[in-house]
């Protein structure tokens, strides 16, 4: 039983990442009708925002410690971050320790800017083009973004640890322990998802966008400049993906191709949830996360060997055959 509860927690946690990425994908697909293969790359760039900030905070000056030697036998150069020398080791250390949460503040404007540039510079020319062309151009963009990150940070994963206070495990109940940061990640993603929904629900801006998702032409006929809002939506979607990435760093060390690992899965999530349905994307994200966790339990694998490898795809196939519109897709929308 305890194991089952832990697996549900794991599922919710995985699902958080799926849901956040799928949410952004659906926003872009639903509002702009663009199949964005670069969305995984946005998630990756988000994660590297915290790597960048960590590196920035760790910018150091070198002092020579003659008592120790480096690997070549020369006197060891000891590095001290500027931050520590400015704010004192204690305060400076704390700032570095909290670099991942701090990166949220840094990532939001960066990701929105990247989203704006992408939309205005590239995507906007592809609204009227076939999906295949959109796939090719965004896939090309994803490769380019990946390679740029790889050129700066290499191919190996880079640790972005959680703050000391938020690492370790929490005991939730008798016999159920769970990593603190994963709980933080889940709460964070619920908050972000809630924020996006509230924004779309309670602001006029959101209303127009929702109307645009339902029927683009009519909204256009009302004389509302939907384009500007769509640009902003792209920025918002990028920011959501970026935030998902920033906070994901402490769970798994970021590397340059982490976006591609999530890309295919998040497309499956979007389709299972129902193309163009935001609640569907979130629901499907959590659902697939939980199913994936259950499928990786020994008891299940012993029953059906290899099920942990294919569960997500299997579920996707079944759902699409039984419920063609996905879990929450509306009839006639993106069918």
């Amino acid at each position: 039983m305890d194991v089952l509860i832990t697996q549900i927690l794991n599922g919710l946690d995985k699902g958080s990442a799926y849901a956040l990425i799928a949410l952004g994908l659906t926003l872009i697909f639903g509002t702009l009708g663009v199949v964005n293969f670069a969305h995984g790359a946005l998630f990756m760039i988000g994660a590297f925002c915290s790597v960048f900030l960590q590196r920035l905070l760790n910018l150091s000056f070198e002092t020579i410690d003659a008592t120790k030697t480096d690997f070549l036998g020369n006197p060891l150069k000891v590095k001290t971050p500027y931050v520590e020398s400015w704010f004192g080791p204690e305060m400076g250390g704390a700032i570095i320790d909290w670099s991942v949460p701090l990166a949220i503040l840094f990532a939001i404007p960066v990701m929105i800017a990247i989203g704006f540039i992408m939309e205005r510079g590239l995507i906007k020319h592809f609204y009227k083009r076939p999906h295949a062309d959109q796939i090719l151009v965004t896939f090309g963009l994803a490769i380019v973004l990946q390679e740029i990150i790889k050129a700066f940070y290499g191919a190996n994963p880079i640790q972005t640890p959680a703050p000391e206070a938020l690492s370790g495990v929490a005991t939730l109940a008798e016999g159920i322990v769970y990593p603190v940061w994963r709980i933080v990640y889940f709460c964070f993603s619920v908050a972000v998802i809630g924020g996006v929904f509230a924004f779309l629900q309670f602001t006029t801006f959101g209303m127009v966008v929702r109307a645009g998702m339902a029927d683009r032409e009519t909204v256009g006929l009302l004389g509302i400049d939907i384009d500007k809002r769509f640009t902003f939506m792209f920025g918002l979607a990028a920011a959501v993906a970026g935030l998902a990435g920033v906070m994901y760093g402490p769970i798994n060390a970021p590397n340059y191709h982490m976006g591609m690992d999530f890309l295919v899965l998040s497309f499956v999530v979007v389709v299972v949830g129902g193309m163009g349905s935001l609640p569907g994307a979130v629901l499907a994200g959590f659902l697939l996360g939980i199913l994936e966790s259950f499928a990786s339990m020994t008891q299940v694998i012993e029953l059906i060997p290899g099920i942990n490898q294919i569960i997500i795809y299997l579920v996707a196939i079944i759902i699409l055959l039984v419920r063609p519109r996905g879990l929450m897709g509306r009839k006639g929308v993106m069918e």
Binding site: T6, F71, P157, I158, P161, I251, N255
Partner: protein, 448 residues
């Protein structure tokens, strides 16, 4: 010879291609006049360095490439000579191989067997490479080894740890300097017993592909021989990034040791997740819970950050070794690139030197001659003590390092400390050991 208006310096530098121009790519040529594939007939000889340049192992590939460039420099008489000065065989003179200047071509394996073979083929067919080396995974090594056997060139494996490379998939034209899963198990077991006792319950997480299985089999056999119990072995998909759902069941399984048969990104993530779930602070069966990573790599360990502290594993070589050969290598590598070499770099460097030396001793580049010179060759001064290239399976037998994550690293490279150097005799097995059974070496193929 080509007549182009390149300057003298240009001709020298483009020698790789120029060399190939003289040594016509007669590979796979039925009507070939050459005695063997890509027989070098000009003033230079071309080696093919096939390493992952894209994909998750690109950093290891880059380090391998650095080592190869260094090896070529040393072979051609440049630099400080590195391990050539400490190598027990003195056949190499710093004038290339058999008097021919060493040139090289590079390719990208992408860590895919298909792409690796395509890249190796282009080196053999187009550039006239007479030896292929490199790689950072067993699947690629075995695939390229098979190709080299068919094409009639020597393959000097890079980083490959699966038992199969010199086990059921061994080939007469292929040689492995790197250690393997069995050796990891044999080296780790006594150390684990010393550190954690002989009454332990182990839980294995294993990457679900050939390398993972052979390593798990080896480690389980070695630890069970000590009296440990293997509680469970769970196979994890290669594509997995989040291991939480595999780690969580460990908590309540009654196991007190977790063995992570993972490499690369899998290892970084599974270890990070295991630490996240507080496994290291756990006390089970009145014992401290322990994590073991049988195949450690310093480059990867960096990705795992502070999580590797005190975690025990094995490695082929580490730059902190104090023997003459290792020190010489670290000095020349460190001077050239500014940081110490990885185990992948070491094995690739040594393989290149060993190949060159074998050519010198055989007096030919003919794969059959080279293979004969390598088979049963005993040498020293290359970093792992006295080493034997066994004739039966083309596996090197040498000391294996048991290492653990350093508590207080002094620099970003100083992550592992050597716990024990397990002597070669302890990791040697018979060529017909069941874990290595099933394949045939075949006979050497010169290709013509």
């Amino acid at each position: 010879m080509s007549k182009t208006n390149l300057t003298r310096r240009g001709v020298l530098k483009s020698g790789a291609v120029a060399g190939a121009g003289v040594a016509l790519p007669t590979i796979f040529t039925a009507q070939s006049a050459a005695a063997y594939t890509n027989e070098p007939t000009g003033g230079s000889v071309t080696l093919g360095f096939n390493v992952p340049q894209t994909g998750p192992y690109a950093d290891e590939g880059a380090d391998e490439l650095r080592a190869y460039e260094l090896a070529v420099e040393h072979l051609n008489g440049g630099g400080d000579g590195g391990m050539m000065n400490t190598f027990s065989s003195k056949a190499l003179k710093g004038n290339g191989i058999l008097g021919k200047k060493v040139e090289y071509v590079t390719g990208d394996t992408q860590t895919k067997s298909d792409a690796a073979r395509a890249s190796a083929k282009s080196m053999i067919e187009k550039d006239g490479a007479v030896m292929i080396t490199g790689g950072s995974s067993s699947g690629v090594a075995i695939a390229v080894q098979g190709l080299c056997q068919e094409a009639g060139v020597i393959f000097m494996a890079g980083l490959t740890h699966s038992n199969d490379t010199t086990g059921k998939d061994k080939k007469a034209n292929g040689f492995r300097h790197f250690f393997n899963g069995y050796m990891s198990g044999a080296a780790l077991a006594p150390v684990l017993k010393g550190l954690y006792g002989d009454d332990r319950k182990a839980y294995h997480l294993t990457a679900d592909y050939t390398w993972g299985w052979t390593q798990q089999e080896s480690i389980a056999a070695a630890t069970e021989a000590l009296g440990w119990e293997t509680v469970n072995n769970v196979l994890t998909p290669l594509a997995a990034t989040d291991f939480s759902s595999y780690i969580a069941p460990v908590l309540n399984s009654g196991a007190d040791v977790l063995v992570l048969n993972h490499y690369g990104g899998n290892m970084v993530n599974s270890l990070t997740n295991a630490v996240q779930f507080g496994l290291r602070e756990k006390i089970v069966n009145n014992k401290d819970f322990e994590i073991v990573v049988p195949l450690f790599s310093r480059l990867m360990a960096r990705g795992a950050g502070a999580n590797i502290k005190n975690i025990v594993g094995s490695t082929n070589w580490h730059w902190s070794l104090q023997d003459e050969g290792s020190q010489a290598f670290v000095r020349s590598f460190g001077t050239k690139y500014g940081f110490p070499p990885s185990q992948a770099a070491h094995t690739c460097y040594v393989q290149t030197l060993l190949y060159a030396d074998a050519c010198e001793r055989a007096g030919t580049f003919n794969p059959c001659g080279v293979a004969e010179a390598l088979e049963g060759f005993e040498f020293d001064g290359m970093g792992n003590g006295k080493t034997l290239y066994r004739a039966e399976d083309h596996q090197c037998f040498k000391d294996v390092l048991v290492v653990k994550g350093k508590e207080n690293p002094t620099s970003e490279f100083d992550l592992l400390e050597v716990v024990e150097v397990t002597p070669a005799s302890q990791v040697t097995y018979s060529p017909d050991h069941p874990m290595f059974a099933g394949g045939q070496l075949g006979s050497c193929n010169p290709g013509a």
